[in-house]
Point group: C2
């Protein structure tokens, strides 16, 4: 039994192809009565629109591109753990719509812009979702210039507003820092992503803000940066503890970095929770199993990714980018008393 098409519905109902097409899309030019009849016939035949014909005619791809970037050098490292969850969330959000999800894997910055170009120029997708927004992100500039719909995971500093879903990293970093200050800590370190990432910058800002509010000086040696991997956390922790005046508390940007830091601590015999406090951001319910489990700021990845999908659909429907933006607040999960520093500095 061949697949039902508009033509087969037309034959069965006796209407013309044009009428059936219009009826199926509930065009007002078709009499209500006729519409009902055609709809009934369509479901009876199990009609499902053929996307290829549709696409060919309308020149739309009905596809949403999701960029996943796997950096060559860090391919063997633990990166992009959250991607599965993000993808699943987006997928769920667009289920039921006509759109399909296509994954484009890229490695490194260069290919990413190139991939974007071919998506736009060859019409590989109608909209694109990507993450890792950078300061003055060329991808955003390009897509805005082309008026191509997109949603980013992570806001950016571009002039024009664009659609995004973001964790409020600045507030999260501020609160984490302020809380440690409240506990009596005076030297607080930050293990941060590379500076060209927008959210790294935001974290810096929140951190610095809390320090100054707490009347503490800003010491640049207390900030370590690197890719958001366990390896970065490990080397950064080791380096920080070798400072003439090591920190009494360390804030890691995500769970991978935290894992690396805890690993380094164990190797060096540094007792986490006593000699030094380690806390994490971007909790995906994994760090609860770390040894010892750190206090964290929870990232509701389910809601976040669902929003990404919904925003994409809205963007495709032509919504004003400035109306489809959302900052998500991270929530503190206390897993440790998070003791004050060894020698209360007063």
């Amino acid at each position: 039994m061949a697949r039902a098409t508009i033509k087969s519905i037309a034959k069965k109902t006796g209407y013309s192809v044009g009428t059936v097409s219009n009826a199926l899309r509930d065009a007002p030019s078709v009499k209500q009565e006729t519409r009902d009849e055609i709809h009934k016939a369509a479901t009876a035949l199990g009609y499902r629109v053929n996307l290829d014909g549709l696409k060919l005619r309308t020149n739309k791809s009905y596809r949403i591109a999701v960029l996943v970037s796997v950096s060559e050098d860090a391919a063997e490292e633990w990166e992009g753990v959250e991607f599965t969850r993000i993808l699943a969330g987006i997928s769920k959000a667009v289920q039921g719509s006509r759109y399909q999800l296509s994954v484009f894997s890229t490695s490194g910055d260069d290919t990413e812009l190139k991939t974007l170009r071919s998506i736009v120029q060859e019409g590989l997708a109608d909209g694109v979702i990507f993450s890792g927004t950078r300061v003055n992100d060329p991808r955003i500039a390009y897509l805005q210039a082309e008026a191509f719909p997109f949603v980013t995971y992570g806001m950016s500093s571009s002039d024009l507003p664009h659609a995004y879903v973001d964790l409020d990293s600045e507030t999260a970093a501020y609160e984490a820092t302020a809380r440690l200050i409240g506990l009596g800590h005076r030297r607080i370190a930050l293990i941060n992503p590379p500076d060209d990432l927008v959210y790294a910058l935001q974290r810096r800002l929140g951190y610095a803000d809390a320090l100054s509010k707490g009347a503490l000086g800003f010491d640049p040696t207390l900030i370590a940066t690197g890719p958001t991997t366990a390896e970065t956390g490990q080397t950064a922790f080791a380096a920080l503890m070798q400072l003439p005046k090591p920190p009494s508390a360390i804030i890691c940007a995500n769970e991978a970095m935290t894992l690396g830091a805890l690993s380094a601590a164990a190797k060096q015999g540094v007792r986490v929770g006593q000699d030094v406090v380690v806390i994490s951001n971007d909790d995906l319910k994994l760090s609860q199993y770390f040894v010892p489990p750190p206090s964290t700021y929870y990232l509701p990845i389910g809601e976040t990714s669902r929003l990404l999908g919904e925003f994409m659909l809205q963007a495709l429907a032509g919504a004003d980018p400035s109306t489809i933006q959302k900052k998500i607040r991270a929530q503190l999960i206390e897993r440790q008393p998070d003791t004050p520093p060894p020698e209360p500095a007063i």
Copy 2:
């Protein structure tokens, strides 16, 4: 500047549309000279085939479906970490071919078969890749009955041969167990995935085989099963240590389970490496950061996923399924002296 089409090439070169089409596909019916001329014109115009027209005409989708299943209940757990890497590998393998990657997210068994059905019946893809093969997997039976190309990550016990890439779990479990026996362990536990998964069965077999070769009895209470999450590892570890005769060594199926086990150990004050030995399988270079870092069997996920993509292309080209199968051998990574049990049992 509109996109170049066959028609525009035809106009430019003076040949007919049919000739251009044939020439572009290097049909022997077109004179070599003409072919060259047309190819030159095509590249000059930057011609890229329009998949929609192609698909409409040929009734092929030129798409490869990748199923990602996110179980509803475990949505908040750490599952499918490796998926990003798998996806990236597949993506790289099919780059350059005409095929595109589409992700279909499913939740649970039921929807998975349903998703598969709609992929086959609606022609959403030409082939499909999925994992988590089960004993008597209905998905495999269905796809074989429909003669629909597919590759699985994980072999299965179906009658007919099918294309797969798999880690040799049986050997890995055998070697892990045998090694522990060699170190003097007499009570060795297994934290394993649910029994309906093929590779869980394989692990059981390898484990049991090593036990009998080592003249050790098989104690069913030493096998704990559950989803491959940290939570499973945690509860299983706790339960195992409460046995009247607890194990002196524990083999976890993957890193997530290992993480959970280590977490439970830390909570209960059990000293890993002294009171009990914990080792892991399916190492993705993450467990090296665990506390303490366990010995593991490395899973070359890069090669694995690349093969998945290549096999899919071969399957789509009509290759005999029995020729596109591969078992990958895991490699031991020693991170601990892995001391013998506390009281050498003799």
